[in-house]
Subunit: 293 residues, 4 copies
C-alpha cells in the first residue's frame, strides 16, 4: 500500500515513521524542506497509485481548509482524502461535500497519542463510509497500538463521527487532568503530607486512579517535584471549547469539564475583571478594603 | 429601654447611633477609648437596669468567645446576651449552653446592611426563644428598616437559626456578586459593547436584574468606569465557606455558590499549583511548551 | 409619532398599551385577529407616515427572520425596522445587512421587564446608529420606566450591541436566580430554620441581597410557601446558552452562570446518563450496588 | 510474621487471603461466624505474638471508634494498631492519642483497589512513625501490587497522612469518573455517533484518556451497552465530601471535584427544591408556565 501524507510535524512525522515500519509506503509533503519527501503537492499526487489516498495531518482551520481545497482541485474521482488533524466535526461535512463535487471520497480520523504515538501507536477514531474505512484498514492497523484492533480503533459513524469522538475524548482529557491537578494542589498545600510526589508515584499500581496521565504526572514530578520551575499557564487548542459548546447545544450538563475549561481561561489572566467587580462590590456595601492595582 | 452594646466598630458604632435616634438608651463599650462610653465591661454592666440586655457586636471566633465568657461570668440569672456578630451557627448552641449554666439567656442575630445600615436600617435574622425575642422587639424595631416589620426582620427559629439564615444570606450574596461580575467581564471583553458602565446603569429600572447590589455596582463604575484602579483580589470572611460546608453536610447541590467561593480563592493566588500540574501534563503527553516560572 | 408594531403577544400587546398611554400612535399587527389593528402587514405599512418605523416584537429565529425579510421587501429606502425580540446578537448584523440592501435602517433593542413592563416600564438596551437612535427616543422614552433616562435605557453600541447587552443581562439573571435557589434549598433542608418563607420576606429591606427577583421570590412563597405545588423543571430560552457560548468564545471564565445553565438542563432530565456511568463505574471497582432501572 | 485482622468483609476478607498467600500468618475476627477465625477479640489477641499487630478493617466512624477503643483497653504497651479503613484523617490523631495513653502504637493506612485488590494487590498510603512503618513492611509488601514498591506504596507522613492521601485519591477518583461520565452522556445524546461503547473500547490503547477506570467503563458497557438497566443514582461514602471540605479549609479552588460531588447529590433527588425556586421565579417575572407537581 502506498499513501500520501501532507504535514510532517510532531504528529505527521512520527506517523510516517510508524507507517513505514509497518510496511506501508509513504510519500510525505511538508513546507519544511528538511523533512519533506517531495517538493510540491503535485509531485506527491503524481507519485501515488490510483485510486490515490492522501492523509492530511495539518493544523485545523484555515490550513486544513486550504489543503482540502487544493486536493479537491488536484485529485481525481475515486481518490480518497483523510483528515487526521484536529478539525471541528462540523468542518467534516463541509469538506466531504466539497470533495464529493469532484467525486473524491473523504474520511475523518481523530488521532490520539501525542508524542508517544510513534512508540505506543495511536488511538484512532474514524468517521466515514464503511467501504472507505475497510479500504484504509491496513493504514489504520499500522498506526494503531499493538493488541486487539477494537482497543485502539473505532469506526464510530458517518462523516464527522471520528472527529466528534476525538473531540469528546479531549474534553474528557481536560476533566481528567483537572481532577489530578486539584488533588495535587490540595496535597501540596497540606503540611501533613510530606511526600506529594511519592504519593502520586504510589498511585501507579493497584489504585482506582491509575492511568496513563497519572504515569505522566509521575514523570513530571520526577523532573521537578513541586513543579516550581513552571508557570500555571495553560493554553487550550479548541477541542475542550467545542465539547462544552456541544454540551450546551445538546442540553447535556457538563459541569466538571466546563470547570476545567474555565480554569484554563483563568490561568492565562494577569488579573480578573470579574474579581475586580466583586472586590468593588464588597467595598461598596461593607467598606471592605480593596487592593489598588 | 436601656441596653449595653459591646463593640463599636463599623457596625456597632452605627447601630448605637441608630438605636439612640429611635429612643433606645445605649451604653457602649469598646477597647478604643475614643468611641467607648464606659471604660470597662464592669462599668457597662453596672450602668444597666435589670434584667440586663447586652448586645455583643464583635468579630466572630475568639473575640466573641471571650466576650460571651466574660459576660457569663459577670451577668446574673435572667440577664440576656445577644450575639449580633457573624458567628458560625454552631457556636450559638455552645454559647447558649455556656450562658444557661448561669441562668443567662441568649439570642443570636444575623445583621445585614453593612455601612448603609445607619441610614437604611439593618436586615435582622433572629434565633432564640419566643419570649426573649418578644422582649427585644423595641431594639429590633429601632434597628430594622422602615416599612413592614416582616420585610426587615424574621424570627427564624431556635438558637442558631438567626446566624444560619444570615449565613445563607451571605452565601447567596456571593452568588449574586459573582453573576454580576461574570457578566461585567464578558461585556468588558467584547468590543461590540461601547458602554459597559452605561449598560449597568441602564439595568437599574425596569429590568429583571435590578437590585441593591446592582445599584452599588453602578456606584463603583461611576467612580472608576472600568475598575482599572483596583485589583481583582477578594477576601472571604467565612460565611461563604460555611454555606458550602453546610450544603455538603446536607447533600444540597450548590454549584453556583461554590463556584463563587472558589473564584475568590483563585483571586488571591499568585500562581495556581493546579494549573502548573495541567501545564506539566500537557507538556508530557503532547510536547506542548510550558512557561518557565 | 406613529409607529407600526408587529407581534402583539405577552410583550408586544403590553408595549402597545404603554406606548399609546404615552401619546405614541401605534398600528399593531398580529396573526391573532382578536388583538390586531390591521389585517395584513401591507395594511400596517400603508397606515404609517414616511419614513416608516416598524417595531418587530416576535419570537427570535425563523419568525423574526421571516418578518425582517417581509419588511425588507415591502418597506422603502429611509424606513426603519426595530427588532425588539430576543434575537441572538449575531442575527442583527445579518438582518441589518439584508435591510441595508434596500436602504432600510435597522436598530436592535433588548427589552427587559417581562409581564411587569406595562406597569413599571421596560429596561431598554439599544444597538445601532446614533442618528437612528435619536429619532426613536420618543418611543424609547415612552417604553422605559419613570426616572432618569439613563437608569432604564442605554445606547450600548453599534448594531447587535443592544441584543448583546440584553443577552448578558439574561445570563446574569440565570446566575442570580440560581443563587437564591441554592440558598432556598439549603434553608428548606435544614430543620433548624422554622420559617424559610419568612426569611426570604425579611431580606426585602436593609439586606445586601434585596432585589426585584427577591421580591418575586417572596410573592411566589406567599402563594405556595414551600413550592410543593410545582415541579423543579426549568426551560431555557436561549440567552443563557448564548452567554456561556460567548464566554467560551472570548475565553472568559463563567463558572457560576454556566452552573446555572447546567442546573436547568439537569432539571429536565428523567434520569442522568452521566450518573448511570458513575454508578456503573462504582459497581465495577468497588462492588457497590446499583439501582436497577 | 503473624497479625490480627478485624473485619473480614469485602475488603478484609480478600486481604486475609492475599496476606496468607504471601506467607503472612493471619488471625481474623469478624462478627460473621461464617468467615471469622476466632470467636472473640480476646481470643484474637491471645493468639498473637508480642508485640502484637492488629489491623482494623472496619467501616469508618462509630465502628472504627469502637474497635480502637476496645483494642486500647485490651492490648499492651508496645502493641500496634493499624486503621486500614476509610477513616477521616482527623480521626487518626484522636485514635493515636487514645492508644498512646496505653503505650499502644498507631499507623493509618489508606487502601485502594476495591474488589480487584485480591488479584492485583492494593495501593497503600501510610501515615505514622518511621520505625513502626518499617516494622510493618512485610505486611505492606504482601498487600501491595507486584512491581517496584514505590509504585504501590507510600509512607506519606506522620499520623493521618495515609488517610489524607487516600482521601485526596478518592476526591480525584470522583473527578475522573465524572469526566468519563459527562463524555459518555454527550456521545449517547449525539446521533452522529453510532458506536458509543465501541468508542470507549477504542480508547483503551494509545490514547491520552486510557486508564483503569476506562477499562472498567468498557467492562460495564460490555454488559449493558447503553446502561439502560441501571439508574443514575450514585451514593457517596464521605471521602469526596471531606476532600471538598479540606479544599475549602485550605482555600484551594476545586471546581471540578466539587461539581462531581454535587452531581451525586443531584442524582439522588426526586425533585430539586432549587429548581422549583427557579421555575417559580421565571413564572413570576415572565409568566413562563410551570409544571404542576
Amino acid at each position: 500500500m502506498h499513501i500520501g501524507l501532507i504535514g510532517l510535524g510532531k504528529m505527521g512525522g512520527n506517523m510516517r515513521t510508524r507507517l513505514r515500519a509497518a510496511g506501508i509506503e509513504v510519500t510525505g509533503y511538508d513546507r519544511n524542506p528538511e523533512v519533506t519527501d517531495v517538493t510540491t503537492v503535485d509531485e506527491l499526487i503524481a507519485a501515488l497509485p490510483t485510486p490515490r489516498i492522501v492523509w492530511a495531518m495539518v493544523p485545523a482551520g484555515e490550513i486544513t481548509d486550504a489543503v482540502v481545497t487544493e486536493l479537491g482541485e488536484k485529485l481525481s474521482a475515486g481518490d480518497l482524502v483523510i483528515d487526521g488533524g484536529n478539525s471541528r466535526f462540523t468542518e467534516d461535512e463541509r469538506h466531504a461535500a466539497q470533495l464529493a463535487e469532484r467525486g473524491v471520497r473523504f474520511v475523518d480520523v481523530g488521532v490520539s497519542g501525542g508524542i508517544w504515538g510513534l512508540e505506543n501507536g495511536y488511538g484512532l477514531m474514524v468517521g466515514g463510509e464503511r467501504a472507505d474505512v475497510e479500504e484504509l484498514m491496513p493504514v489504520f492497523d499500522a498506526l494503531r497500538p499493538e493488541g486487539p484492533r477494537e482497543e485502539g480503533f473505532v469506526h464510530a459513524g458517518p462523516t464527522g463521527a471520528g472527529h466528534y469522538v476525538k473531540m469528546v475524548h479531549n474534553g474528557i482529557e481536560y476533566g481528567l487532568m483537572q481532577a489530578y491537578a486539584e488533588g495535587f494542589e490540595l496535597l501540596e498545600r497540606k503540611e501533613l503530607v510530606h511526600d506529594v510526589a511519592g504519593s502520586f508515584k504510589a498511585w501507579q499500581r493497584g489504585t482506582v486512579v491509575r492511568s496513563w496521565l497519572l504515569d505522566l504526572m509521575v514523570r513530571a514530578l520526577d523532573e521537578d517535584d513541586d513543579l516550581s520551575e513552571i508557570e500555571g499557564y495553560v493554553d487550550d487548542s479548541g477541542e475542550g471549547r467545542w465539547t462544552v459548546e456541544e454540551a450546551i447545544a445538546n442540553a447535556v450538563p457538563m459541569p466538571a469539564i466546563a470547570a476545567s475549561l474555565f480554569a484554563r481561561f483563568e490561568s492565562r489572566q494577569d488579573d480578573s475583571p470579574a474579581m475586580k467587580a466583586v472586590a468593588a462590590l464588597r467595598n461598596q456595601f461593607g467598606g471592605h478594603s480593596v487592593k489598588k492595582a
